[in-house]
C-alpha cells in the first residue's frame, strides 16, 4: 500500500490481493538479473551516440492560454482549478 501511495493510486479492496500476487510473480522473474555479474558495466544512458542535442535557446510562440486551458476539467481565473490540498 506504501507503493500505491507513492504512485498516487487508490486501490479498492478487491484489487489489492491480485495486485500483490501478480507483482510478486513478476518481481521473482525479473530478480534473475541479480544473478549476473555486472561489476564494471556502465548503465546505459542512451542507446545511440548523441552529442550536442541542445537546440538554440530562442523564444518561440507557445499555446495561447485559453487553448491550454480548454481541455481542463475545471478552470478559474485563467488557471487550472483544483480542490484544496487540505480538506
Amino acid at each position: 500500500m506504501h507503493v500505491a501511495q507513492l504512485a498516487r493510486l487508490a486501490l479498492s479492496e478487491d484489487e489489492i490481493e491480485p495486485m500483490a500476487r501478480e507483482l510478486s510473480a513478476v518481481l521473482d522473474h525479473v530478480a534473475k538479473i541479480g544473478e549476473l555479474n555486472l561489476e564494471d558495466v556502465a548503465p546505459t544512458s542512451h542507446v545511440v551516440d548523441i552529442t550536442g542535442a541542445l537546440r538554440p535557446d530562442e523564444p518561440r510562440e507557445c499555446l495561447p492560454r485559453e487553448v491550454a486551458l480548454a481541455q481542463a476539467p475545471a478552470v478559474a481565473e485563467d488557471g487550472f482549478l483544483v480542490p484544496s490540498p487540505q480538506a
Partner: protein, 479 residues
Amino acid sequence: MSATDVLALSAAQAADAIAAGSLSAGELFEAYRSRAADDRAAGDDGLNCFTWVAEQAPKGIAGAALGGVPLAVKDLFCTKGVPSQSGSRILEGYLPPYSASVVRRLQDAGASLLAKTNQDEFAMGSSNENSGFGAVRNPWDRTRVPGGSSGGSAAAVAAGLAPWALGTDTGGSIRQPAALCGIVGMKPTYGSVSRYGMIAFASSLDQAGPLTRDVRDAALLLGHMVGQDPCDATSLAFPEEISLPSAERLDGVRLGVPEELTGEGIQAGVLDAFRAALVQAEALGAQISQVRLPHAPHALSAYYVIAPAEASSNLARFDGVRYGLRADDPSDLLDMYTRTRHDGFGAEVKRRIMLGTYALSSGYYDAYYGRAQRVRTKISEDFRSAFDQVDLIVTPTAPSVAFKLGEKTADPLAMYLNDFCTVPMSLAGIPAISIPCGLADGLPVGLQIAGPAFSENRVLDAAYALEQSIGFDGVPARV
C-alpha cells in the same frame, strides 16, 4: 476502377495510380472510409479496430508524394482536434491542441487521416485486450487476439480496412501484432522518428513505425517519417535517404541466427516456418550462421523493470488537473489524484505503475533500475559483437501464433513472454522488421530481421528479397 480493384492496391500502387490520374484520391479515401466506419458501427460483431473514423476526406495537398492515400493512426498519436486517448479512459474526451510531429510530417507529404486505431491502454500489452475501448479481434480468426499493443493498426491493415497504418513499438508493439496478423511492421532505429506528440509510455524505448501490407509500402511510409525534430531532443537526422527496396537476391549477405532466441519457448510450428524461411534465404544466396547473444535471455527481465519505471514517471501527468477524467466530488487534492487514477486506469496500467514505482523507490533503485540499465549495456554489446560476424540477425518475431482471446489475461508473466524475441532489439535501439513467412495451424508466422543502428535500407532490402521469394498470401478470409 471497381471498389475491389481499389482495395487490392498496395499504398504505393495507389499513390502511383493517383499520380497517373487513373484513380482519384477521393474515391480511394471513401472506399476505405466506408469499410472503417462499418467496422466501427459493428461494435462487437466487427473487429473493433478503430476508436475514431473520419466523416469525410480531408482536403488534399495537390501533387504531394503520398497523393492523399488514407492513413490509419494509432490512438496514442496526438491529432489536432481529433480524439486521442492512448486507449485509456483517463483521457476521456481529450482533443489535442496540436498534432504529433510525425503525423504532421506525413500529412505534409500527402497522407490523409482516415482513422485512429484501437490499442492496448498506453501501449501496455501484447494482445490488445487491455484497451479502454474493448479488445480488437484478429481478422484471421475472430476468436483470437491480433497482438499488441498496435493491434488495431495491424488488424485494420490485414483486414483491408486501411491501406497502411502508424504504430509504435516499445518492446515489440509493432512487430508482434504485424506477425500475428500476417502483415509487415517495422521498428526503426531509436531516435530516427520524432516522439513529439506521442503519448509517452517508456521514453527511452518508444519509437513510431509503419504497419503495411508489404515491404515496399513500409519503406515508402518510413521514408516520410524519419528526420530530426527540434521538439524531440532524442531525434536524429537520418544519415541517408530511405530508398524503395528492389533487391532480388541475398548474395553474400550474412544472416546470423541467435541460438538464445530460436530454441526453447518457441512453438514448433513457428520454428518450422522460420527454418523454411532460412532455406529460402540460402537459396537466394545468403550465408547463414549461428551467433550468440548471451544476455538476450535476460532482456525480458531488464525490459520489465525499465519500461514500467519510465511509465510510472510518464503517467504521473494523468492527475485530473489539465485534461481528461477527474473523479467526482474530491474531498481534497490527494483524494482527487488517487481516485481519478483509480477510476481512469485499467488493471495492466495500474500493475505497471506499481511495478515501476517500486523499482524506482528509495532503497530498490540500484537493485532494479540500475541493474537493468547495466544489463541493457551488455545486450547492446552482444549485438555489436554479433554484427562483427554477420550483417543481419534473424529470429521468429513472436514465440507463438495468435492465441485465443482471454487465454493469457489472468497471467501477466505469460503475456510478457510474447515479447521474448523483440525486446532485445528494443533495448539496443536497433532497427527490426517483421514480415510474414508462412502459416502454422492456419495462422500467420512472422520473421524478424534486425540490423545495426541506421541499417534500415539493408534490413528493408533483405526483407523485400525474402518477401518476393516467400510469396505469402496476405489476405485472410475477408470479414
